[in-house]
Amino acid sequence: MVLPLSVISLLALAALSPWLVRAAGRYAGWMAAAVPAGWFVWFASQIGAIAAGGVLAPDPVPWVESLGITLAFRLDGLSLLFALLVTGVGAAICIYASGYLGGHARFGRFMAALLTFMAAMLGLVIADDLILLFVFWELTSITSFLLIGFYREKEAARLAAMRALVITGAGGLALLAGLILLGLEAGTFRVSELLTMGDQITQSPRYLPILALILLGCFTKSAQLPFHFWLPGAMEAPAPVSAYLHSSTMVKAGVFLLARLTPVLGGTPEWTWTLKVVGGTTMVYGAVLAARSTKMKRILAWTTVSALGTMVMLLGLGVPGDAAAMTFLLAHALYKGTLFMVAGAVEHRTGEKDVERLGGLARRMPITAAAALLGALSLAGVPPLFGYTGKYLLKGGLEQSPWDSALLVAVTITGVGMMTAALLVAVRPFFGPRVGGEGGGGGVGGGVGGGKPASRTGEAGPGLLVGPAILATLGVLAGVAPGLFADPIVLGATDAVTGLPGDAELSSLHLFSASALVGPTGIALLGGVVLYVFRDRFRRSTAVLDRLGPLEGPALFDRGLAGVLALGRGQTRLLQHGSLTGYVRTCVVGLLVIGGSLLIGRLGTATLLPPHEAIRPVEAILVGLMASSAVAAAVFRHRLGSVAALGVVGLCAALIFLLFGAPDVAMTQFAIETLTVLILVLVFHHLPQFRVYTSRLRRAGDLVLSLAFGAFMTVMVLLAVDTGFGEPISAFFSEQSVAGGKGRNIVNVIIVDFRATDTFGELFVLALAGMGVATLLIARRQRSGAGTEPGDEVVP
């Protein structure tokens, strides 16, 4: 039962974190990091067993037994790779957040959201039930909304958070449908059982809808074209969020699910081609835009989009690609986490986001610069860093797959863009000259102009350094000595993805083979340097991309959203016009149409006047009084008169209840009538002048409508009396009232005992109604500006 405990403990820590922050202040992140770090160690201790083909699957706990949904968790190679990333990078991020946001007034809230996200992400990767997995999936969407929009006072942040939520939320809905279809088709929601059913699923007629829906969910989450745009926008988030969610966890959830379901859904031409085309396009697009950007975090965001595309494409290649995808994934998490944290540190210390305006930071921030350089080299795929291993296997995967020269070209272009991006984020701000005014300039060193001196010179604090330093070091270690930890982790994950044990071909033996530097890698690196040198000309010549604006995601998204809102406004204006008589008219007409059409069918078969007892004189008098009062209420030219006439109607109704043996209802009716009069007295002065507002024609129409409605109600009541109900339940109630309910008042026993749950719901409705009235009046009072406390003499 240790496995689910990891998720629970993180959730508990999240719940406690506001108090932790209150107690420990800015060091709360250091303390909170202990929990994910502890779990990281535990997961690391499982590497050996899992890599040897073992699986950790504690007994599932039943959840919704009737639907076969269980709280099942399972740790295999793929889960382990992700669990290590989530907890390991998570611990580093906790510390980093302390340094970055430690003094912020809402730091406690931030930590709570961050840790909840961490728990959700961890749950997502170790869940062994499709529905459980989906719950965690949605939880990551919601918590990432809170994290992206953390700077809630900034409009851009709110907008970015909403875009991310709408896009990933919509994808989530598609995913839910896909997962349910998949579960129904397979007859089980357990992932581990699904893994062996690949043939059955891919042969089934529902395969295509399942595939389409699940891919939609994965592509939105992992920012594939054309859903990519929320990811660069999400850079409005604080740097720890960017480093964690948008490099190594949240956006990889889509890749994770693709990898997880590869044995179930993969291998078909539909799967292969969709992934190759979508992933490949995203990869190239992201790389080109990364090379064009100038803001540090934005460059990184575009390289993330590109990397996600690469992983999706690799998963589309099949077995040789899977190994590369897993390697690339680990490498990407390590270097991208490093680089985002570096970008945050630079922004934190200098207040500048634009790489072209930064320069010479290496002397002031040597450790940051070193981490940046290591991360960037890995990003560019320079040997011997781990990123190179990823790139190398990537090409290996391409070569082993059916030859696909288009993809090779795409990969090379991407390599060029990545190299340029690496130079932009690691060389330009740290080693470029401390000049670099508006627009930068040609040449390796950037242009000349007024340099922007770093506003807070000096190295970043330990909180901002620990994380990137650790991740950068791991990146180097994984490249230089892959046997240390990278190989077993990646091999275990690959086995889980391919479903074939032990294809240990991953080796880094070829790492320094002479052919490595020639061929595509060399071209990419060289091209990247060239592109970096001529980046200004590149930006100008591709300016056409800027003009794609109206066709791009954000613009389309905003237009769609505006359209939905306009539709809502339009139908609100149509239906919610604010005229009370209009509302009554709508309700009456609606009831007449629906009820009338039902009645007409029955009229033929029913007898309208069933046998009945003789009408007593007192009943006739009451009914006559009611009818004449109702007419009087409608024709009186004085409001008070109308109100009094309505009161007579109500009191007569109460008397009828009394006559027919319902003293409870009568009592209540009396009380209600009294209070109604009181309310009318109180609002008397607020009502508009009591005079005729409507045309004669309109009043005639209303008269017809009223008569029709009265006739409808009469017929309906008569029919209802005639309709046989089978055995009436009242006999049961009278029998059980004293025996079961211990009360002689049947009405009350029904209310408080037999139907107590209903009553409880009604109590809530009543409370809400009271709240509604009170808040509406308060809102109106504040709007009309009469904010002063009304005196006691208000009442007439």
């Binding site: 002065h685 005992d753 809530f764 009543l766 409370a767 009309s784």
Partner: protein, 159 residues
């Protein structure tokens, strides 16, 4: 309202009405009455006071603000229903004791549930009516009050 008759009557009637509302509540299980009408009667008692002395003094007279009375009522009703599952009965099943502090009134969870109904009803009515009574007077209200018929150019064409 500055009437000595009303003020004197209120002083005498308020406790009597409140007592009556409690009686209605308690006897409800066997005779006509119950939490709902009891709550309405209780609210009416306070509203009589409001008519005499004004809403602000009425609010001060209340032991709790109306919204808190509602909350208390919902909690009492909820907890009366939560007792049954603890004993393996379905939610909101009635549990009775043989304890009968007042002749005719047995103690059981439905009694507490009815007390919850009483409080919720009373709180809601008081909340609504006190809010209306403290609404800004005349002027603003007359033009911006509830629209009970279309104003010129507002949704309706014919005049």
């Amino acid at each position: 309202m500055n009437s000595i008759i009303l003020r004197t009557a209120t002083t005498a009637l308020l406790p009597l009405l409140l007592l009556a509302s409690v009686v209605i509540l308690l006897r409800g299980h066997n005779e006509p009455g119950g939490g709902f009408v009891g709550g309405l009667t209780g609210a009416a008692a306070f509203l009589l006071h409001m008519l005499t002395y004004g809403p602000a003094r009425c609010r001060r007279l209340l032991p709790l603000p109306p919204e808190a009375i509602i909350a208390a009522g919902l909690f009492v009703a909820l907890f009366s229903g939560l007792a049954a599952p603890l004993l393996g009965e379905p939610l909101f099943a009635g549990l009775w004791t043989d304890f009968e502090p007042i002749p005719g009134v047995k103690v059981g969870t439905p009694l507490f549930f009815d007390v919850g109904v009483y409080l919720t009803v009373m709180g809601s009515v008081l909340w609504m009516i006190l809010s209306i009574a403290q609404w800004p007077q005349a002027g603003a209200g007359a033009e911006r009050g509830f629209v009970d018929d279309p104003q010129p150019g507002h949704g309706e064409a014919e005049r």
